[in-house]
């Protein structure tokens, strides 16, 4: 019976997040017992974003992410961008590294990335890579703004074509 409730609760969370209007039902912040949360690994369906071989548009794909600590879900969601089973899709973040993704007060998500030169993309690849990050993390209702840093630094551009906004807001993905 307890299991059923838990399952039902998770299902609601999943549906809510997938629909883009997440409710606080599964939010650990309201639970108040961190150590209990750490042990219960959660699975979440999210949309991850890739591009087609024209490198013209974002293509979304459903992915499961697993995390024990609720705080880790942003990083897990971003890491989902680095792999796909669909050979037709082009991964925009395959060789770049997400070092951290921390939600601060007021819904400000700080993402720290490492961009090795080998992973530099062309103009459209860069633009789509940024859009993929924004669309992915803005699935979480609590995220209000996103600041992408490179090795902890606020830089002009990730790969030299598109300027970074510090920070991006929800308007940025319109």
């Amino acid at each position: 019976m307890r299991k059923m409730t838990l399952l039902l609760g998770m299902l609601i969370t999943i549906i809510a997040i997938a629909a883009g209007c997440g409710q606080k039902s599964g939010d650990p912040e309201t639970g108040g017992k961190p150590e209990a949360q750490q042990h219960a690994e959660q699975t979440l369906h999210i949309q991850a974003y890739y591009t087609d071989d024209q490198i013209l548009n974002l293509v979304q794909e459903k992915k499961d992410i697993k995390f024990a600590d609720e705080k880790a879900k942003y990083l897990e969601a971003l890491k989902a961008l680095q792999s796909t089973d669909d050979a037709k899709l082009v991964k925009l973040w395959q060789e770049n590294e997400f070092q951290s993704a921390i939600l601060k007060d007021g819904g400000a998500l700080i993402i720290d990335v490492k961009i090795p030169a080998e992973a530099h993309l062309g103009a459209s690849g860069e633009d789509l890579a940024i859009q993929a990050v924004l669309k992915t993390v803005f699935q979480f209702e609590e995220v209000q703004s996103v600041d992408i840093l490179v090795d902890g630094q606020s830089v002009d551009s990730l790969m030299g074509h598109v300027e970074l906004e510090h920070p991006y807001t929800r308007k940025s993905i319109m």
């Binding site: 071989d53 490198i55 530099h120 993309l121 062309g122 103009a123 690849g125 633009d127 002009d156 551009s157």
Partner: protein
Amino acid sequence: MKKIGGMLLFCFMLFMVPNMSHASAGLQIYLNGVSLSPSAGGQIIKDYTMIPIRVVVEELGFQVDWDKKTRTVTIHNDKTSMTLVVDQKWATVDGKKVSLDMPPTLKSDTTLVPLRFVGEQMGLVVNWENATKSVYLFTSDYSSEVTKPDVPTTPGKPDQGGSTGEGSNNGSDGTNNGSNGSNGGNSGNGSVTQDLAEIQTVTFEDNRLVVGVSKSDVKPTQTKLSNPDRIVVDIPNAKFSDSFFNSQNFAANGQAEIQLTDHPLVSKIRYSLFSSNPSTVRIVIDLNQNQAYQFTTTKDPNTIIVDLNGGSTDPGNGSNPGTIPPANGKYVVVIDAGHGAKDPGAISLNKRNEKDFNLAQALKVAELFQNDPDVQIVLTRSDDTFLELKERVTVAKQANANLFISIHANSINKATISGTETYYSRDDESKAFAQVMHSNLVQGTKLPDRGVRKQSLHVTRETTMPACLLEVGYLTNQTDEAALYQDDFQNRVAQSIKNGIKQYLGLQP
């Protein structure tokens, strides 16, 4: 009936030729549309138009030296120098020996030189119109105007009558065209040209000249000229349709006009049957300023379009920075080699840096424009230095650039993706500019054409002049990478970029 008439005329003219070759009767010489004085004394000898050397000096404005002893004529201007000797079938042009079909000749103490040879060698365009026995000379900076002057081909004198009469007049730009409503001048040398395309409409709306044509296989040419600024469109193997001709107010000189009062870009549009062999319709757009434009033809409906919107988002203000050359008279084009120094750009399959390709390619473009009379290149970087994106934009703004082109090479983690892409960000003139650049670029790269794309990129979005970013090829593709670092490839691409710039600015390639 008409055809027979034409044939008769043709035969008649055959008989006339020997007559003509003896006398200068009827021979007319025009320079830039102005008739040379009747005393010019040009004459036709063995089918060659000969003119006295005095005319070369007085009328054509070249320097002439005459050495009586050696009977040598030296003709020169600041560019070309040639030497001809009476009765010798060769000449020396800029030190090179050139054979002559018709040598200079002495006739009653006057030295005559072959007009076509001298004119063309000295840079004139020489057109001969047999029907009117007229020579039309144009200096290269003038080029020819829409109508030739009203040739005195006996408008009052009855011709051979009937349909042949129309034919004999066709060289005069249809001077008589209006007289019988059958647009006879347009039927051209009926015995020679068949199946002419008919110009059915000429309209100018929304800054677009649209010419409706009866056939799709017309091959119009276009030229942009300055002093005054104008666009000249020639449609060979074409004539005006009867209904169009009759609906227009063609003046006695065979020219009709659309007057545009208070239009910011265009003062008027003129058109006429410019030549009868081949029958050619000429349309001239007289511009108020140097104006970028796009030239296209469409099928079904068959039209020829000159779109002046290509260079101006707001046709009302006429103050478009993209098309007005700066004070020194040269267009400024910023070439931006992407990345640099600490930012290597992408890394190629063989570990070569994108920034190095970008720089080499940009320098090659700049080199091609050295000493260009119309275009001055400004580079955002000419060595391995780093500029922020906004600094690149600043360079363009400070240079008061007319055009901005960023050069890049592409990268994606999928080795099969190959080809050339061109990006723009603003839906203004940048789009047309990107299209022109891309169509030239793919001819240079010979890589797969991956199209013109819109993407919000800093340098193409934040600049204020037409701007595009070229992703020349993929560093992550084996074929592309091999090409990108080759000298030949880069030279070809540089030339294609130059062609694109010149095409967009409406300059002669």
